[in-house]
Structures are given as structure tokens and as C-alpha cells.
């Protein structure tokens, strides 16, 4: 058994539980602070420290195993700023990012955002990429962000790295990613009705014929 403290109160829980399942083991019914339960949605951002070690640590409650003498608390909601914009009417530039998130110039490089990221992303570095207008680098470096918001919760300057990164990724996808010609061609073919006659035949085909066609289809090597 492991000793943990849920919002200050002592409990003993079996080894091998996550912070989330430990809370549930202690009888807490979680409503906020729980989403996919698999490390993808960012709902269960959590901070903890230890009985004799005040240093705050950060993680996702569904992915972190409880350890002896942990002090646990969930962060159910954090009021982070989000710019409102029409993605069709933007410029993929640093000026644009700055216009929507002017506060990013206030970053003084303390690196708390990086240290608080449960995905271990280089948060401060992609914020400086954003400042320099390198949209692609922000997209690449921030890609694995689950938007848990811990960076924003901990930033002493009130910046919102996860929303800045989202803006940059959307700018990259909309304006900067190279065009997929084969996709455009296929859309045009479908609109022109190229497959309609064959599709009608398939739709009317009996189960036996369809099954034969399926079993005989040629499969492209993976």
C-alpha cells in the first residue's frame, strides 16, 4: 500500500494505481478533471508534490502512477485566454500571431512552461519560434500538445502557449502545407460523376457477387 494525501487528507491505496484511479479508490467520484482516461484529451491536468518535498510536479492524472507520500489535487478548470479569429482571413505570419496574442512579447524565458508540460514538449522554444514568426517550427514542435493548459496555468506572465500553438498549427495547415494535387484531382473526378455508374452497379450487386469480388480483390502491399 502507498500513503497519499488527497487535498490534504490521508489515504492508503494499493500500489500501481494512477492518480486518477487512486482518487476513485479513495471514494471520490470525478466529474471534472477526467476525459479520455488514456493520455490524449488533457482534461486531467494535475499538480502534485511530496510530504517532505514542496517542489510542484505536473502530469496527467490518468497516466501518472501514485508514489509514496504524494500530495494530490486536480485542476478542474483554468480560465485561459483564447483569441477569436476567422481562419480564412488571416496571414500566416509572425505579425498575425502577435496581433492575436500580443502578450507573447512579455515572455522572459523562465522556462516554467517547458518544465510544466506533461508531454515534455519544448514549450518555451516554440513560443520563441512564434515570436520570430516561424509558424512551421511551432507546428512541428507543438504537435503532440494535448492542450491540458498546465503551461498557461503556470506562466507568470499569463501567456497561453497551448492556444498560441493551436493558432500556428491552423495557420500551417490552411496556408503553408504544400497542396496535395492527387486529392484535388480525386475531388474533381467525384464531382464530375466519374464513379457514379460503377457505384450504382456495386450498390445493386447481390451479396454473393459482392463477396466474390471482395475475396478476389488485389491488395496493395503495406
Amino acid at each position: 500500500m502507498v500513503d497519499v494525501y488527497v487535498m490534504g487528507r490521508h489515504y492508503r491505496v494499493p500500489q500501481g494505481l494512477t492518480i486518477l484511479t487512486a482518487l476513485e479508490y479513495c471514494g471520490y467520484r470525478v466529474v471534472r478533471g477526467c476525459g479520455c482516461r488514456a493520455g490524449f484529451c488533457g482534461a486531467c491536468a494535475t499538480v502534485y508534490n511530496f510530504r517532505n518535498d514542496a517542489q510542484l510536479r505536473y502530469d496527467l492524472a490518468c497516466q501518472k502512477t501514485v508514489e509514496q507520500d504524494m500530495y494530490l489535487v486536480q485542476i478542474p478548470f483554468f480560465p485561459a485566454l483564447k483569441a477569436i479569429y476567422d481562419v480564412d482571413r488571416l496571414e500566416p505570419s509572425g505579425e498575425q500571431v502577435l496581433a492575436l496574442y500580443p502578450d507573447i512579447v512579455k515572455c522572459y524565458g523562465c522556462n516554467t512552461c517547458t518544465k510544466s508540460c506533461p508531454q515534455e514538449l519544448e514549450t518555451m522554444w516554440f513560443m520563441s519560434d512564434a515570436l520570430r514568426g516561424d509558424i512551421r517550427q511551432v507546428a512541428v514542435k507543438s504537435f503532440d500538445c494535448v492542450m491540458c493548459g498546465l503551461c498557461a496555468a503556470r506562466c507568470p506572465q499569463g501567456l497561453v502557449p497551448y492556444n498560441v500553438a493551436l493558432l500556428c498549427r491552423r495557420l500551417y495547415g490552411h496556408y503553408l502545407a504544400p497542396v496535395s494535387q492527387h486529392l484535388e484531382d480525386r475531388i474533381a473526378e467525384i464531382r464530375a460523376g466519374k464513379f457514379d455508374a460503377e457505384m450504382d452497379k456495386l450498390k445493386k450487386m447481390g451479396r454473393g457477387d459482392l463477396r466474390r469480388l471482395y475475396d478476389q480483390r488485389e491488395i496493395e502491399p503495406a
Partner: protein, 553 residues
């Protein structure tokens, strides 16, 4: 770090790896798949399904866990709710805030409707974010919507509704471009062509991915778009009952604030149901890949309001749920791992199924290997699984491929000291997807006028088994169609007075069938994972939950 006896088995896996790199198992014919499924797939276990005793699908079979809820008691007493006091009055109500719901809301708004989106957890807390592998669309020159159609029909055992599959495959390329226009970052080659992969049951490379965070990337963008468009959304506000008008047309819903129990009455000219799946019912005791709120709520509400459901006797067990360590039991190990070349291997290091068969076939083969043949590997906690030999990927595709293509998987196992670049993962089937749902037409409409459905809670498109990459396609294809159609319907609709008479009739029907006392209240809203504490109430008192008032269980 694996325990010693598991490491021993891994040595056998390593010993056969060189030989297996050259070894391709042949795919099974339809005639060979059928007995494998009948003997080993959970859908075919006698006694785990039950005939529905009431409602539009009376007499049809569904897992007992779901039957309990479909036959459940309402959470509200219609006599105690003042429907004259309407809190929100608008054109389209979208219930559910995952990929399908967010898409439907955006399209309904763009079609000129006033929209409210209500969701049980936060906007975006849904199975969409957990979808890793990708989204199918037949856009490469050697592919076509016809091949996508045939693959989808075959995967679904030819039971799929043809018109729905046609819509799915013909809209697919358009959906990929729509998402990119919104700002989704697809994996691409430097020349702009899509970096596409194969998948179980697919005859072409047509899986579009965003590393192994595909659904997360799609959801992040859609959620942002809902906010940018100023679409009103209520979080932690699930629907507990649909509202109909005197003619039985959908006319809104009653929502509950999960934290305060406050009820909200929404009047709407059209309702889009986008509540997702049912994994958190833990059918047959399986763990699940699904998010916390996947409790079949939309099915329950629509069924009670008279909507037909379809294919509810079939659930998808994803072949590769994590088995070790126990902290991630049942969580998804993406099919992309097999797509990239990893094989499934038993305790002795031997292959037993071609890894890219459709999911139901692979799941049945793993169950046969573990339960039927005793060639699985047991964990210290008593779970059994087979190896998914991830280190092969870098040997086939070059060093660094795993880190580049599967960062989420590397991170997830790395947190527990397992390096999937060097060691395989232990896997076993996990409850993943509801193949069927509320029966829809190609525009997302259901058998209840004014009620639309999209995404996992809709039914018909996937037949009896969904293929990889077709669900993150389904949510956008039918989310768009349902959002548009609901907005159009709302322009003509003139709903009468709001009514809960269908709930009164439902309760009467339950009493006549003698079920009211033995069935739980539903929708379930959330699974109950809190460890039961000593309770001052006797068991009998706790079981007979008061149905006259909202009771959050």
C-alpha cells in the same frame, strides 16, 4: 521493464524475428473467417445477449449491459417539469461535443441556423481525441471510392446500408480537404502528396494520419472552430430526455447540470444526436479504449423517443488493447503499429494471424490463441495477452520510424519504463466501438422526424464491423450531412407544444412489461468507478433508485 518470465518469452520473440521478417501469412477467405468468428468472437457467446422486451426494436438481441439501459427508467418525472419555462429556444440543438457534434454544429451554423451544443463533459472530451491511426479517403491514383466501398462492405460482412457507404466513400476526399482548410496538419511528403498507410481490411494505402495523434489533431481544430464561430455550448450538461411535440417530431431536450442537478429546457426545431459510443458499459467485462462518458446515452434517449436502432448485437473489440502495465490496461495500441509492419506473435514467437485482417477477425484470432490454444503470456496481475512486435518497424522502415510515426505510443509506454523501439507490447482485445446505432439515412435523418444522428451513435454505415480509419471519416461525413440537413429542416419546421408524453408512455410500457422495478435509471451519464464506501443504506434501498427525480449515479 518487464518481469522476468515475460522477458524470457521476449527472447523467443527476438529469436524468430529474423525469420518472421521474411514470412507473410496469407489472408483468410470469407469461408475461413466465419467459423473463427463464430467460435471466438465475443459477439457470438451465447448468454451474453438478451432480447429487448420493449421499444421500437423489441425482440432483437443486444448485449445485456446495453439492454438494461435501453429498457431503463427515465431520470425525470414529466409531471414535475415545467415545459412552459424554456431556457433556450433555437433552430438546432446538437447533443454531444465530439468530432461529429462539433462538425454538425459548425455546418448547421454555416447553413444559417441558430445552434446550441450541449455536451456531458468538456467540448472535445470524446472518443475522437483517442483515435490515433488515421482517416480513410480514397484519393491516390491507384485507389478509388469503389475500392473503398468494397473494402468497407467486406469489413462489415456485407450488411452495411449501401447508400450510407456510398456517402461515406464519396465524401471522403472532400472531408480531408475541408479539414485541411480548417487547419488540420496532415502527414505529407515534401511534394505535397499525402503520406498514406494501409490498414486492416483495406486494399489500398488510404489512411491519412497526423502522426499517431490524428483524432486529437482533428478535434483540437474543430473545437477551436466551434469557439471561433461563437457557437453557444454548454459543458457538463448532458441530455436526460428528448422533447417531442404533439406529432412526435423532435422539439428539444431536457439537460441536467452534472454538478448542480439544475435542469435546463431547450426548445429546438431540430436535434442532432452525436453522443458517441458505449465502451464504458464494459460489455462482457472487457476493459475499453473509450472516454469516460461513453455510456450510450444518445441511444437510450432516441430509443425512448421511438427511433429505430440497428446492428446493436455487434460491438467492436479492438484487437490490440494494452495488457501490461496494468495502469494502461485496455488502452488503445493503435492499429497503425501493425500497419507499419509489426506482427502479432504468441508466447513461443510464432505468428498466428495475418496482422492486417479486419478487426473482428484479428480480435477473434488473439482470443483463440490465448483462451483456445493456451499460447498467450500471463502478466503478474493475471491478464493474458500476445506480443505486438513493434521493434520490427524500424527494421523494415529504417531507424527512427517508430519515433516519427508513433510518438504517442512511445510516450505512453515510455512513462512506464517500456521502450517499444526495443521491446514488444503485450496486447489483448479491448472494447472499442459500437458498430451499430440509431438507424440513419444518407442525410443523417432518423425514423423520428426532426431527429438526426451522426458519428458513433448512428448506425448502418459500418455493418457489423467497422474498418480502421472509417470512424474518424464517419464523424465528419455524417456530422456535415446531419448539421446541414437539420438546419434545412429547421427552416420549414413548425413544432407544436413541447411534450414529455412519450416518457409517460414509456414508463407505462415498462410497468406493463413488469420491468419498471428491475431496470436501472438511464441514461447512465457516467460509469461508477468510485470504490463503494460503507453505506448506511441497505442494498435494497440503494438499488431502487428514485426515478421521480434526477439522480446522478
Amino acid at each position: 521493464m518487464y518481469p522476468a518470465h515475460m522477458e524470457e518469452s521476449i527472447r523467443k520473440v527476438e529469436a524468430t524475428r529474423g525469420r518472421r521478417l521474411q514470412e507473410t501469412l496469407r489472408r483468410l477467405s470469407s469461408d475461413e473467417k466465419e467459423p473463427l468468428l463464430r467460435e471466438h468472437h465475443p459477439d457470438f457467446i451465447a448468454g451474453k445477449m438478451r432480447q429487448l422486451a420493449v421499444g421500437p426494436n423489441k425482440g432483437e438481441y443486444t448485449p445485456s449491459e446495453l439492454a438494461d439501459l435501453l429498457e431503463g427508467n427515465s431520470r425525470i418525472d414529466p409531471d414535475k417539469i415545467d415545459l412552459g419555462r424554456v431556457d433556450h429556444d433555437l433552430d438546432v440543438l446538437v447533443i454531444g461535443g465530439g468530432g461529429a457534434g462539433a462538425t454538425a454544429a459548425v455546418l448547421a451554423k454555416q447553413s444559417g441556423a441558430t445552434v446550441l451544443l450541449a455536451t456531458k463533459l468538456r467540448l472535445g472530451d470524446a472518443n475522437t481525441v483517442g483515435a490515433q491511426a488515421g482517416t480513410q479517403a480514397a484519393d491516390r491514383p491507384n485507389d478509388s471510392p469503389l475500392m473503398h466501398y468494397l473494402d468497407t462492405m467486406g469489413g462489415g460482412h456485407f450488411d452495411n446500408i449501401p447508400e450510407l457507404v456510398e456517402a461515406l466513400v464519396k465524401d471522403a476526399p472532400e472531408v480531408i480537404r475541408w479539414l485541411e482548410t480548417l487547419g488540420v496538419n496532415w502527414d505529407k511528403n515534401p511534394d505535397g502528396s499525402m503520406h498514406e498507410l494501409s490498414g486492416g481490411g483495406a486494399s489500398r494505402l488510404r489512411l491519412h494520419s497526423a502522426r499517431d495523434y490524428t483524432g486529437l489533431e482533428e478535434m483540437r481544430v474543430l473545437r477551436d472552430e466551434v469557439r471561433n464561430q461563437g457557437i453557444r455550448h454548454l459543458e457538463f450538461s448532458p441530455a436526460v430526455e428528448l422533447l417531442l411535440d404533439g406529432r412526435g417530431h423532435a422539439a428539444g431536450a431536457v439537460l441536467v447540470n452534472l454538478e448542480t442537478n439544475e435542469l435546463t429546457v431547450v426548445r429546438a426545431k431540430a436535434v442532432v444526436m452525436a453522443t458517441g459510443g458505449a465502451g464504458r458499459l464494459h460489455i462482457q467485462g472487457f476493459p475499453t479504449t473509450n472516454h469516460y462518458g461513453a455510456t450510450a446515452d444518445g441511444l437510450v434517449l432516441a430509443y425512448r423517443a421511438g427511433a429505430q436502432i440497428i446492428f446493436l448485437d455487434t460491438m467492436q473489440y479492438h484487437p490490440t488493447g494494452a495488457v501490461y502495465p496494468m495502469q494502461i490496461l485496455g488502452q488503445l495500441v493503435t492499429e497503425k503499429v501493425r500497419t507499419l509492419g509489426a506482427q502479432l506473435v504468441n508466447a513461443e514467437g510464432g505468428q498466428f494471424i495475418m496482422s492486417l485482417e479486419p478487426r473482428d477477425v484479428v480480435a477473434a484470432a488473439i482470443i483463440r490463441e490465448c483462451q483456445g490454444r493456451g499460447k498467450g503470456i500471463a502478466t503478474p496481475a493475471g491478464q493474458v495477452g500476445v506480443w505486438l512486435d513493434s521493434p520490427m518497424i524500424d527494421m523494415i522502415r529504417g531507424e527512427g520510424s517508430i519515433a516519427r510515426e508513433l510518438p504517442a505510443m512511445v510516450r505512453q509506454f515510455g512513462r512506464f519504463g517500456i521502450d517499444i523501439v526495443k521491446e514488444p507490447m503485450l496486447v489483448y482485445p479491448t472494447l472499442h466501438y459500437q458498430n451499430g446505432g440509431i438507424r440513419i439515412s444518407a442525410d443523417g435523418s432518423t425514423s423520428v422526424a426532426g431527429l438526426y444522428a451522426a458519428g458513433e451513435c448512428g448506425g448502418g454505415v459500418h455493418g457489423r464491423n467497422r474498418l480502421i480509419g472509417n470512424s474518424t471519416l464517419d464523424i465528419f461525413v455524417f456530422g456535415r450531412r446531419a448539421g446541414k440537413a437539420a438546419a434545412e429542416w429547421s427552416r420549414k419546421a413548425a413544432p407544436g407544444a413541447l411534450s414529455l408524453d412519450h416518457v409517460r408512455r414509456w414508463q407505462k410500457g415498462l410497468e406493463q412489461a413488469g420491468l419498471a422495478g428491475s431496470r436501472p435509471v438511464s441514461p447512465l451519464l457516467l460509469p461508477d468507478y468510485a470504490r463503494p464506501m460503507a453505506d448506511f443504506l441497505p442494498d435494497s434501498a440503494r438499488r431502487s433508485l428514485p426515478v421521480q427525480r434526477v439522480k446522478l449515479t
